[in-house]
């Protein structure tokens, strides 16, 4: 399909992102894309290294995953520049998810700690 233009009602002109900002954003997107690919490769390579205990291996993998989640959420989903309402929604969600995980760990009493078997 041929490219369609709306010169008089250009979305770029009305949207919150001007053309110049978007060009800068595109560069950021490509950098984030590269970082995500590298992060994936590093995750796989790190899984073949034994860091002394399984817990450390798990921590390393989850740390890399968290960085990747930050990049996708922050830049691709634009969370680094979003409205307060969205942070309020996400904040309450994170609160309940952490509460859920805490309940799971708490339910493992009397050992009271997670032991990851080798």
């Amino acid at each position: 399909m041929s490219q369609t233009t709306h010169d008089t009602h250009s979305p770029a002109a009305h949207g919150s992102h001007g053309g110049h900002d978007l060009q800068a954003d595109l560069r950021k997107y490509m950098i984030v894309f590269g970082a995500l690919i590298v992060g994936t490769i590093v995750t796989v390579l790190a899984s073949y290294i034994h860091f002394g205990s399984t817990s450390i291996n798990i921590a390393v993998a989850l740390l890399i995953a968290s960085v990747k989640v930050f990049l996708v959420g922050g830049y691709f989903m634009h969370l680094i520049s979003e409205k307060k309402m969205i942070f309020a929604i996400l904040g309450s969600t994170v609160f309940f998810v952490i509460g859920l995980m805490y309940l799971i760990i708490w339910s493992m009493e009397p050992t009271s700690h997670i032991h990851i078997p080798h």
Partner: protein, 289 residues
């Protein structure tokens, strides 16, 4: 009557309707997957040492699928940015690539599922466990291809029954055993006697005590694996259907209400990025840890 705030943002929230809606929906999705992840933690921690068969998945395929989803994430955001820059042709190109990535992801996942449903564990009457992919079966025999899997001889009491005195050795290995690494799932018991074979193993049906494929009923790990990845795949299918609609008949809105169309693309993109986020956690948890 026109529905307000489908294009312009509400003054108090700073959001248009669909954006507020998708974020509320994604919040509920976080709770859904959070509950399943907590189930995973319980199962993982509760497993006896050496019995969590995490290494039975194909890491290269999982890595490839991760890269496919990451590529789809960049094309989704590029598609949205193309519309913002008034480049409808570019949007179609990126949207098309995203749809291809979705199909690629589902294709690879389907192959992985097929691999598990054709992967069998056979326990024979004389206390051997054969682990491999099904080559053929009929009423008389079952033929497995162990590949790099192992044939393990368990102590009879480990299997909960003793070998029958009259049990026949109704299985034959067509090639001499060769040295291989132990399958991690069986490391704890491998010391009781294990041999790896490279060619087909034929087992008489009369000698089979138990035979089961690697479906979700085979092990708690596979149960949570199929639950998590199955639910995730449903999200991929749902997201792909929505994007396919926008790619096809839904694209007409670009001519009549371009800004509303951009909002729709943004909202579908937010959902797709969430699908990517879930996989970013699923991949190391299920494939690598």
């Amino acid at each position: 009557m026109d529905i307000p705030y489908t294009v312009k943002e509400r003054e108090d929230t700073g959001l248009y309707n669909a954006k507020l809606g998708i974020w509320l929906f994604l919040a509920s999705e976080v709770m859904l997957f959070g509950a399943l992840f907590s189930s995973y933690i319980l199962l993982r921690v509760g497993a006896s040492p050496g019995t969590w068969p995490h290494s039975i998945l194909n890491v290269p395929l999982g890595t490839l699928n991760t890269i496919v989803l990451i590529v789809s994430s960049i094309t989704v955001v590029m598609a949205w940015a193309s519309l913002k820059m008034n480049k409808f042709g570019d949007w179609r190109k990126y949207q098309g690539i995203t749809l291809l990535c979705a199909l690629g992801f589902l294709g690879i996942k389907s192959y992985e599922y097929y691999d598990k449903f054709t992967h069998y564990e056979v326990i024979t009457n004389d206390g051997k466990v054969f682990d491999g992919h099904l080559v053929m079966q009929d009423t008389e025999k079952v033929v497995l291809h162990p590949g790099n899997h192992r044939v393990i001889t368990y102590a009879a009491e480990q299997l909960g029954y003793g070998p029958k005195p009259e049990a026949e050795h109704g299985h034959e290995v067509e090639k001499a055993p060769a040295a291989h690494e132990a399958t991690p799932a069986h490391e704890a018991t491998a010391a009781h006697g294990a041999e790896a074979v490279e060619e087909h193993v034929t087992i008489a049906r009369s000698n089979i005590k138990r035979m089961q494929n690697y479906g979700p009923y085979h092990h708690a790990y596979l149960a949570i694996y199929f639950t998590l990845t199955g639910l995730h795949a449903l999200h991929v299918i749902g997201g792909a259907l929505v994007m396919a609609y926008f790619f096809g008949p839904g694209a007409k809105m670009w001519k009549s209400e371009p800004e509303r169309f951009i909002n729709r693309i943004e909202v579908s993109g937010l959902f797709w990025h969430f699908v990517d986020l879930v996989w970013i956690f699923l991949f190391p948890v299920l494939y690598l840890l």
